[in-house]
Symmetry: C2
Subunit: 203 residues, 2 copies
């Protein structure tokens, strides 16, 4: 059976998004200084230097993401929204979206299909494991969703990409998660980011 | 003039100490699992591997620390307390302790003298700069004190030692500090820790 992995870009103070996320500002308030862009500069501006980590982010065979990462639509699906990633998303695999509102599966180009799961994180994981076969399942984010899986003891490996800025408020990785014992598997510095991979040990 | 530097060991979720610090538990509640020991294992158990970072922690020419890092005595100095570090502390330089309660300077062996500063962080920094000459001043901790200096824009360089565990509650670096723009100066992985040095850029 594959592992359950999670890869997330965070500020030095642990935030993955600011307050008040919206369609115009998918990473939330940034004080007008392009915080969302600076958070992700390591893979947009220095992609060759970080090729291994970037490739690893889309190497799972099934994905799970929260409704807020999937898009800005809240409540019922009263408008068509098929994710931030265009007609041919980078996943090329089933993506299970956690939501309280049922919706038919949405096939996309390139092998990605969005499935909408209304009965909780354990059900989503069971479906993703089934879809992934012996491949990995990635808990794709956002931080709130990763925190739920961490708190439930369901994540095997955590890959942090720590960037040189702080936000001071927003959605924070590990917030509300009981203490974890980690094992540092690897750590690597690039010019705009420090990558750290942890194995999450049984509590 | 030297720089103002700060070196601090934190958990992967940014905490440097748990709740309820006391004389028996200087790093606070640890759920009985020796969290304080595990937080500092990188320099107690793997000191040779981390010699450069450890030497750098005591290379400043003057130090500033908060009252709670200096010791567990709260309120008036109603008992003799000369720090956690014995008769010959590792500083070998003036140490300025922030407190609301005046006390005469306390000379120790080996060149360390504890000075007690009652008129705020900027006064303590001015006195430490004076004492350090062209050497560096270290804001030694704890996180609450470092956060005050960060919020005031008075720190030039931040050296984080990130260890593989999370605490979930306690005293957190960057808590309440407005957003900072950092420059990643260096990053290095050791077996029990990832070291990251940031320059703090003017806001």
């Amino acid at each position: 059976m594959g592992r359950v992995v999670s890869s997330i870009t965070i500020s030095a103070d642990g935030y993955s998004a600011g307050l008040n996320q919206s369609e115009e500002r998918p990473f939330g308030d940034d004080g007008g200084d392009g915080w969302g862009d600076r958070l992700h500069a390591w893979y947009s501006e220095t992609s060759e230097e970080n090729r291994a980590e970037i490739d690893q982010m889309t190497s799972a065979r099934a994905y799970i993401m929260g409704r807020n990462m999937f898009g800005p639509v809240r409540g019922a699906w009263d408008r068509q929204w098929n994710g931030w990633w265009g007609d041919n998303p980078p996943y090329h695999a089933p993506v299970f979206v956690l939501t309280h509102h049922a919706r038919e599966p949405q096939p996309m180009e390139g092998g990605t299909t969005y499935h909408f799961v209304t009965d909780g994180i354990e059900s989503a994981l069971a479906q993703a494991r089934e879809a992934a076969g012996d491949g990995d399942v990635a808990i794709q984010g956002g931080a709130t969703t990763i925190n739920q899986y961490l708190a439930a003891g369901l994540v095997d490996e955590l890959r942090l990409h720590i960037v040189p800025l702080t936000l001071g408020a927003g959605t924070r990785l590990f917030e509300g998660v009981p203490p974890l014992t980690l094992e540092q598997v690897s750590s690597r510095a690039a010019s705009l980011v420090t990558h750290v991979t942890y194995r999450v040990l049984p509590g």
